[in-house]
């Protein structure tokens, strides 16, 4: 189970990087980056999973006394929550800059933007 989630996450990272490196359209590159971002989040959550344990929420089924023995690691989940929110911010920024670039250049093709090319 953990290995399936990890493999999916790694695959998503690779797909995302492939898209970001080969696509020329900036919008497609942004989509590729969000796919890679999802892959990283999936890997992080999968690392915190422990087989046969329940979510880190204390209730009638998981009393506080048994929490150590029966719950999964809460730290990666907190980390991924942060990462998702920051990912949304990054995506929104990329879209705003892409729009600005389109207004300035009339094109979203990255091969036509050569100022930073070396």
């Amino acid at each position: 189970m953990e290995h399936i989630a990890l493999a999916t996450g790694f695959l998503l990272i690779l797909i995302g990087l492939y898209g970001a490196l080969t696509q020329r359209d900036i919008l497609r590159m942004i989509v590729a980056f969000t796919i890679a971002n999802t892959g990283v989040n999936l890997v992080l959550v999968a690392v915190g999973y422990i087989r046969g344990r329940s979510a880190p929420i204390i209730n009638d089924n998981l009393p506080a006394a048994e929490a150590t023995a029966r719950m999964i690691d809460p730290l990666p989940q907190a980390l991924v929550l942060t990462a998702i929110v920051i990912g949304v911010g990054i995506t929104a920024l990329m879209l705003a800059y892409a729009y600005k670039l389109y207004i300035l250049r009339g094109s979203l093709d990255i091969s036509k933007i050569k100022e930073l090319k070396w």
Partner: protein
């Protein structure tokens, strides 16, 4: 051609590293030291039933403050980048003749938007008890705004109201944090209010208050991003 080949090589190298990680990965059978500390002490020290919330709002509350600041910066930069050329284009006559939203969308949004707002508020008020919290609830609030934007693309939302909501929420977050220094153990200490009974709505000290204001702030920030992006599309 060379470029494609280089990309292929880079990805192959990464895939080799990932495969190594994947096949050598041994799942933990018990919590590590940090996880065990949180599992043993979060319920007593913080009083939040959801331990992820206890970590985000209390133990690592400073990081969350930074995270909210990053979101604020993002919203501010988007406003800066997009509003400048909006003012340039407003001089041009708005001759866009777009078809109005359909009857179904309008009626549906009047029915759904209040319910979505209520659901978002429920999510962030119960953030210390259930899987949920300020960030998730804020995103749900913003989705109601997105529905309204789809319904009435021409209507302009009040940026001043959204900015006010966001500023007040951020200020309350910091003030509660500073009160923690004065009245309790340190910055963002949640025990300035009684931690109460584990699992009750009014428990976990200031966590429900902080998370509600985080929810409002995140909702306002996401909404302002969406509105900025939608307004540029109008021109």
């Amino acid at each position: 051609m060379i470029k494609r080949f280089t990309v292929f090589l880079i990805l192959l190298a990464l895939a080799a590293i990932f495969a190594q990680l994947l096949f050598d990965y041994v799942p933990d059978s018990s919590l590590n030291q940090t996880g065990r500390y949180y599992a043993e002490n979060a319920a007593d020290e913080v009083g939040a039933a959801n331990i992820v919330t206890a970590i985000i709002v209390s133990y690592r509350g400073l990081d969350t403050l930074g995270e909210v600041t990053v979101l604020f910066l993002t919203a501010a930069i988007i406003g800066l980048v997009l509003s400048r050329d909006r003012s340039q284009q407003q001089t041009a006559p708005e001759a866009v003749n777009r078809p109005g939203p359909g009857e179904l969308l309008v009626t549906g949004s009047y029915l759904l938007a209040p319910l979505i707002l209520l659901f978002g508020a429920y999510i962030f008020i119960n953030g210390h008890l259930t899987p949920g919290g300020g960030f998730q609830g804020g995103a749900i609030l913003a989705s109601a705004i997105l529905l309204l934007l789809l319904t009435r693309p021409v209507k302009h939302f009040s940026h001043r109201l959204i900015t006010l909501l966001e500023s007040v929420s951020g200020l309350v977050f910091v003030i509660v944090g500073v009160l923690g220094i004065i009245l309790a153990g340190g910055f963002l200490d949640n025990r300035i209010l009684p931690t109460g009974q584990l699992g009750e709505l009014l428990s976990a000290g200031t966590i429900p208050i902080i998370y509600s204001f985080i929810g409002l702030k995140v909702g306002a920030e996401f909404s302002s991003m969406l509105i900025r992006l939608a307004e540029t599309e109008d021109n």
